[in-house]
Subunit: 513 residues, 2 copies
């Protein structure tokens, strides 16, 4: 329709494309270097005009970011790394984690059966051979990371303890020869004894201790920690003298120290990391009840609920009240069992209910008591705006705009509806970005009532669903998704409305294979 859109239909460089991997000398001599250090960059949403020669070469724009983790074992590094990767991938930045521990375990397989590379002696700073092997492993990981960035990756995360200045200097030195890479050190510090004890107990179920007696494992891990602690140097003055950008996270966002942060992407990462918490809670998500437009198959619009949709709405209010009470009891039980710090009192919190500004979602929460729930309606949760295709059926779109229909089929993620204001999936992702940060920030449980495309996008974030699968996710009407983030994974349950019994039943079939 409009020529504006076509140039954005390029999908982001895939990690497996490998078709354009400029060597570092290419990069240094091209205008690429100077250009790449500039400002705001949102894949598919902000479009950069390139000089002809770069356009022709299919050069990538936007700088690369290397995130280097720092921290003692069991300080939540992997938790942070996982969340950060998930968030960045959802924002459509190709992100990959390079874990040095896994490399060590793979490297040690075969060459010594006694597992000496897992025992605490391997982590003794006095053990020079072991130290040199550990440095080699870390630098090999870094090389792999750099090679991957050159093949089209955007953010590489070096997941290791990197606990000495010497090691960090090695890493910085290597990265200085890559003109197109920004770096961000992220240190995770945990001083909360409850969280620490829990992290350590999780560690003992790691592959390093498989098949080992629990007491022996615990003793070995304690000694490994001691060895790390002997040599541990926190981020600070030396990094500041050298101007190295870093961020220290103390007790999961409770305290954050950010130094010399550079670049749009690093700023986004830190804002995200600043805002999360470990409160036990649930997030329920649902589409609105059936609307009059749903019955005739029209997309978009602002129709009210059908009588059936109204019955769903009434049942939803009762069901969520029931779920909420059950969740509160479960958390209290787990608190007594020592799983959470006892100070966390969830029952006193007002639960949040968020809907879009459209009639069908607002009507869906009409039976919720505004004294019991903090109910907010917001434009951010509105359905994807279909521009010229608003209030048409898919059959009508295919008939009237066959080329649009085909373009959408080919690349549903980047396809932007024609007409003023028309949106694409990636436009909606950017629109929802502040909401994701807010969802991570608040401690209360939360119900989100929204629309098909927005629900897919939110579930893709929460459940770490691949971008290729996201636009194809089956999300039916009258279904509630319950997402429970736990320190080491997210539990999804699906509840479907049984219209005859006017109650919900749990669907045991995995919804997004």
């Amino acid at each position: 329709m409009q020529s504006i859109r076509t140039s954005e239909l390029v999908s982001p460089a895939a990690s497996d494309s490998g078709s354009h991997s400029p060597s570092s000398s290419d990069v240094a001599s091209s205008p690429f270097r100077r250009r790449s250090l500039c400002s705001i960059d949102q894949p598919g949403v902000v479009m950069t005009k390139l000089p002809q020669e770069l356009e022709d070469a299919h050069h990538e724009i936007g700088s690369k970011l290397v995130v280097v983790m720092v921290g003692l074992p069991a300080r939540g590094k992997s938790y942070i790394v996982k969340k950060l990767r998930r968030y960045l991938m959802w924002l459509q930045y190709e992100t990959k984690v390079f874990n040095v521990g896994n490399r060590r375990r793979i490297a040690s397989k075969g060459d010594n059966e006694d597992g000496s590379k897992h025992s605490h002696a391997f982590f003794d700073p006095q053990n020079k051979t072991a130290k040199s092997i550990r440095d080699d492993l870390a630098m090999d990981s870094l090389e792999e990371l750099i090679a991957w960035l050159k093949q089209g990756g955007r953010v590489g995360i070096h997941d290791a303890t990197n606990s000495t200045r010497e090691r960090r200097k090695l890493i910085m030195k290597r990265l200085e020869s890559e003109p197109n890479c920004r770096v961000l050190f992220i240190e995770s510090i945990c001083t909360d004894p409850v969280v620490l004890a829990h992290n350590i107990s999780m560690k003992l179920s790691s592959p390093d201790y498989q098949g080992m007696n629990a007491r022996v494992a615990s003793e070995d891990f304690r000694k490994r920690l001691e060895n790390y602690e002997k040599a541990y140097q926190t981020l600070g003055e030396e990094e500041e003298e050298e101007g190295t950008p870093y961020c220290k996270l103390v007790n999961v966002g409770k305290k954050v120290i950010a130094y010399n942060i550079q670049g749009y992407l690093a700023g986004q990462c830190i804002f995200y990391l600043m805002n999360f918490n470990l409160s036990p809670r649930c997030i329920w998500l649902s589409r609105h009840g059936e609307s009059l437009d749903n019955i005739v198959g029209k997309i978009g619009g602002d129709a009210p609920l059908s009588p059936r949709g109204c019955r769903f709405a009434a049942c939803l209010a009762r069901f969520i009240q029931h779920e909420r009470e059950e969740h509160s009891e479960r958390v209290q039980m787990e608190q007594r069992a020592g799983l959470y710090a006892p100070s966390t009192n969830i029952s006193e919190r007002t639960m949040a209910v968020w809907t879009s500004m459209l009639t069908r979602t607002k009507e869906t929460v009409e039976d919720f008591d505004a004294n019991e729930y903090d109910i907010k309606h917001m434009r951010l949760l509105n359905e994807i705006y279909a521009g010229m295709c608003e209030e048409l059926t898919y059959t009508e779109i295919r008939q009237r705009y066959p080329q649009e229909f085909e373009a959408r089929r080919v690349n549903k993620l980047y396809y932007r509806y024609p007409g003023m204001g028309g949106e694409s999936y990636v436009d909606v992702i950017q629109r929802l970005n502040p909401l994701i940060v807010e969802l991570e920030r608040i401690k209360s449980s939360l119900l989100i009532v929204t629309h098909r495309v927005v629900l897919r996008i939110l579930l893709a974030y929460l459940m770490d669903i691949d971008r290729r699968q996201m636009p194809e996710m089956e999300v039916q009407l009258h279904t509630v998704y319950r997402v429970e983030p736990r320190p080491h994974g997210t539990i999804l349950k699906v509840f479907r409305w049984d219209e005859d019994r006017d109650w919900f039943y749990e669907d045991s079939v995995t919804p997004f294979p």
Copy 2:
């Protein structure tokens, strides 16, 4: 048109309304207290559903924030306070600064003509009488701030040195009895000798030293600083033990320490403060060149430029190149004069050019060389979406939708265009929020080519223009606004295109009285 909109047309509580000032006991006993602590809150954009009794009482929702500044004199507190106030007001949160220094100067008028309350002796921590007077002044300011919040204000900023733990404890104790107030301490630390020397020289032109000999003034200020330094206690361990939320800013965003930040608004403040810098630069803003729709007076749409618009575009590229060179020379001259740290090298930076995704702005920058400028097109800068009124003239809107025309006239800021996706000024403000943070973050100069409403909103932010005036600002076609942020104020120049001479001339008339 749609019932959704009407309930949002409430304007934010004005500072001078005074019609509902619940006493603190009212607040504690009402559901207000529990509710107010919840999540995302964007005036006019996120709508909270209230229980009937609160709706009837015209109760305000959303918690109040008290920002308490901490820092030695000449550390940039007032600069931070000014920017923060401007940003929050632009986001439509009623914000007011309560400056203790001004109160001291007013208080001392009359009761002693010798100006003893300005001389360094007044700031000696050993001087008990003076200390007690200073505490009283600070606490009086705080009372005034609290009273103002109760009358409908949202964010009160207590602008004083607040440099001792004792003082801060007094403040915290007073605020604890206000259930609806969150608090955020912000400390500004400056260790850069160039910035510090510059700040001190600015201080000597303050009212405290009016008419005083320069050497005497400088000596007095040095002694005042020494007195403060004697008693100065930075934010840290004690605040952390008590869980007091704080943020330390070292050298304007170079290093940021955030502790226990609570609430949506405080998080937004910190993200904003983290992202600014003092690089010398210019921001040029312009609407697109005349479009074919401009000729016939249609709003919205995606028309290309008229031949006249194309001539403007060609001239704009030459003019900006000229302006850019001139600015670069001026900065170099000022650097030699010691006004900026010599390390700041602006000439090597690629200048950014941002436009919307619409044809008329993209065509307006077509003559810019993509090798010389980092050119980005983004949806964030698109014109306000007029929904059902897109591609109509104002006359047509008045004829077809007289009620809409009237509603818009009455409250242009909150008026949302009818029809799916229709936007209001406040919707556009929220959409532009990430762009403002990015604009503050980048160090390079910047040209923004956008549309009438977006230009008004951006200029209102940059020039601190009142929300009532913003929707009425006269922003003509073929005019370039040059905004130059300086440490102590922003300089605006207006250049108009002279079509015959095909060049720009400076318009000396103040554009926004």
